[in-house]
């Protein structure tokens, strides 16, 4: 067999179910206290710093990191449970989500010790927000075309250029970004980019908001004009960012956020349909639930493989490819099934409102964090076609 895909039927261990109860109870309390409305999809521009701190107090940030940095040395599967429960509840995770999933692990691996000791505990306490500086006006999927320059100066680097589509840059305390430190070589066009930690309060950084078609505002253009970044903020090898970027992708691409982004419309459809669906509604709901269950089992399987120290890069890309397409299609399928549902149920306005929002949001799901086309390229490489 050329293609040895593995999706072992991993089950969450019993300690995860205890944790799930705690998370559900916590979220129920937060909802009761009016922190957020579970029927309203996560508002992309909503920032909930107090909620973020309370999540940190519960020990649910940096869950897998070493205790000396404020982490809790728990498993990826436990982190998985917290993530999926927050997502399904539409909890406002914006402030801590990127730091916890992505930026923290990068710092753990590449930052000098004093920076780890300074920043990681603050992430675990839910105090800091991170942004990721990858795309530029003329480089998106083609990451290695990035031009924003870091020029060596006394004690550090001067940054000039701009990043774009930078989620949360307007509320972020830090950004982890790639900048050009050398031109690419003939042999390796990926050479010459370096990963940096940037304090967003640095003089010379301007954040300009970009409005989105959902009516929300989450992403930004970030302009650098002689912004100074000290030497100890270089993350990893100078000119060698391309070696560092790929191994983290499995974490980024296979989580519950890759198929649950529009889940709320399915819940509301079931509510509007009621306990005695006609054949058409029942079949439609059944097919959607079969997909949902399968996606989740695939995603848990990848989490289990990560926990076991494997690098399921192709499997993770498959999860994101079919998961994002599913969550993108979900509002459209729900719309079709809702067409003949009685308009009287109390939640109908909620469903209509959610459908409108999810339908407008849907196009971005197969673009952010690696487009469908990029993912299929990775899968094709894994199959031995490239």
């Amino acid at each position: 067999m050329t293609a040895a895909l593995r999706f072992d039927p991993i089950r969450l261990p019993p300690e995860c179910e205890e944790l799930r109860k705690e998370v559900r109870a916590f979220l129920a309390d937060e909802i009761a206290a009016g922190t957020f409305d579970p029927h309203k999809p996560q508002r992309e521009d909503s920032d909930a710093p107090e909620f973020s701190r309370r999540v940190g107090e519960r020990g649910w940030l940096g869950m897998t990191w070493p205790k000396k940095y404020g982490g809790h040395e728990r498993s990826f599967l436990e982190r998985y449970v917290v993530t999926e429960e927050m997502r399904v509840a539409n909890a406002p995770t914006r402030r801590f989500f990127v730091a916890d999933r992505q930026s923290g692990p990068v710092l753990l691996k590449y930052a000098p010790e004093h920076i780890k000791m300074d920043i990681l505990p603050r992430i675990c306490r839910g105090e800091v927000c991170f942004a990721i500086g990858m795309s530029e006006p003329n480089s998106g999927s083609d990451l290695f075309a990035a031009k924003t320059k870091a020029t060596k100066t006394d004690g550090g680097w001067l940054i000039n250029g701009s990043k774009i589509w930078t989620t949360s840059a307007h509320i972020a305390d830090y950004m982890i970004a790639i900048f050009r430190t050398s031109p690419p070589t003939k042999e390796n066009r990926r050479h010459g980019l370096t990963q940096f930690l940037v304090d967003m309060k640095t003089p010379g950084i301007t954040v300009n908001p970009i409005a989105q078609i959902t009516g929300q505002y989450e992403f930004n253009e970030v302009v650098f004009q002689d912004a100074f970044v000290p030497d100890d903020h270089v993350l990893g090898e100078i000119d060698g960012a391309w070696k560092q970027a790929t191994s983290e992708l499995a974490y980024e691409r296979s989580g519950p956020e890759r198929f649950l982004e529009t889940y709320y419309v399915l819940t509301e459809l079931v509510r509007a349909t009621g306990p005695n669906p006609d054949t058409r509604s029942a079949e439609g709901i059944g097919r959607l639930v079969a997909q949902l269950h399968t996606m989740r089992r695939m995603s848990v399987s990848v989490a289990g493989m990560l926990q076991a120290g494997k690098e399921p890069v192709v499997e993770a890309s498959i999860v994101k490819d079919i998961g994002t397409i599913w969550e993108q299609q979900l509002p459209h399928r729900v719309r079709e099934l809702a067409a003949f549902v009685d308009v009287d149920p109390l939640n109908h306005p909620t469903l209509d409102e959610q459908l409108a929002f999810a339908t407008k949001l849907a196009p971005k799901l197969t673009i952010q964090g690696g487009t469908t086309e990029v993912l299929r390229g990775i899968i094709a490489r894994g199959l031995g076609l490239r």
Partner: protein, 354 residues
């Protein structure tokens, strides 16, 4: 389950490799390949994997048996192996000993019912029963006044109307006209026709997942050999993306089927969680069969549409297996009803419980 993780599956895999080579079978003009394959399988005790030793079987675990079926799907096996395993398993539910030869099970559709009459005879019609005309015995799930019963029937006592599935394998209509069974016993409490359909559905899901793995394998290989416009077609992005989608469908089918198999293997009852796992697996695998088979054929072009090429052995079987033990439309309606009855706020807890 892509690698043999147990001795039972390894044995099956070795027999399939030696005696069920797809190209050899495809080239053969008759059914002479069947007897040596079946006798090797029987010698290894595989058809009666799920029959405990005290019912004359080999007493392998449920999980091991499912691995064999996944492997059988990868090889596009067209002998009543899955059917005999299911029949033996069904008989064992009522502690009825299995005869040594090939068997099948009836009904094979949730829409058919076989009735146990007051005089202990069986009446009814079962359609799409795989390999019915090729076997000596049929294991029957019958419904009577007292609930479900399990019976062993001599196939010669039934009227069998021959039919073929999409792959050309026997898929027959079996008429039970006051048939006197060889043995009949009541099923355990809670075991009914739905239990049989769920078990059969998981078996077919694993076979479909296996066939998709092979579709992916042969399609990738072909795309790396075939040259068009002066390069291998695997170098065209459109072809690469199609194959990536096929990999996604194979992966989804494998994940859903393996999960359902694991769930059944570790459960003592066919409860709501098994219902979700098994129904979802059959739905997802059937959908994957449609999408995956279309891509495998597209990549192969005209050669894949010929009898001479082995591709149809996998694509047509995957499509045919969708029908057995409840197709995806049936299970989707049943799953939808279950979800609706539990209510909107119980959907996520159900999904998250798996």
């Amino acid at each position: 389950m892509t690698e043999s993780d147990n001795i039972v599956a390894e044995t099956a895999e070795r027999i399939f490799t030696d005696l069920a080579d797809a190209q050899t079978i495809n080239n053969s003009k008759d059914a002479s390949w069947k007897a040596p394959l079946w006798s090797a399988l029987t010698e290894a005790g595989l058809p009666l994997s799920w029959v405990p030793e005290d019912c004359d079987g080999s007493g392998a675990s449920i999980a091991d048996g499912f691995s064999v079926l996944n492997s059988a799907g990868r090889f596009g096996i067209a002998v009543p192996l899955a059917e005999t395993m299911l029949a033996g398993w069904l008989l064992a539910q009522a502690k009825i000993a299995s005869p040594p030869d090939a068997m099948t099970v009836a009904p094979a559709s949730p829409r058919d019912r076989i009735t146990l009459n007051a005089d202990d005879t069986l009446s009814g019609r079962a359609r799409g029963v795989p390999f019915a005309r090729d076997v000596k015995h049929i294991a029957v799930l019958a419904t009577g006044a007292e609930g479900s019963s399990i019976a062993l029937v001599d196939a010669a006592q039934c009227k069998i109307a021959a039919g073929l599935n999409l792959a050309g394998d026997a898929s027959d209509t079996v008429n039970f006209d006051k048939v006197k069974p060889i043995a009949v016993k009541p099923a355990q409490k809670g075991f009914d026709q739905t239990s049989l359909m769920l078990m059969g559905g998981v078996a077919r899901s694993l076979q479909i997942a296996g066939s998709l793995e092979t579709m992916l394998d042969v399609s990738v290989r072909y795309s790396n050999e075939r040259v068009a416009f002066e390069k291998k077609i695997s170098k065209f992005q459109a072809v690469q993306h199609n194959l990536a989608k096929l990999a996604g469908e194979a992966a989804a089918a494998l994940a859903a089927a393996s999960s359902a198999a694991d769930a059944v293997a570790n459960s003592t009852a066919f409860d709501e969680s098994i219902f979700l796992e098994a129904a979802a697996a059959k739905i997802r695998c059937a959908e994957a069969a449609e999408k995956g088979a279309a891509i495998a054929h597209q990549v192969h072009g005209a050669i894949g549409f010929t009898k001479e090429h082995i591709l149809h052995r996998y694509t047509m079987r995957a499509l045919a297996w969708r029908e057995d033990f409840g197709n995806e439309s049936h299970w989707a309606v049943e799953l939808g009803k279950l979800v609706a009855a539990r209510g909107a706020d119980e959907l996520w807890p159900l999904v998250a419980s798996r």
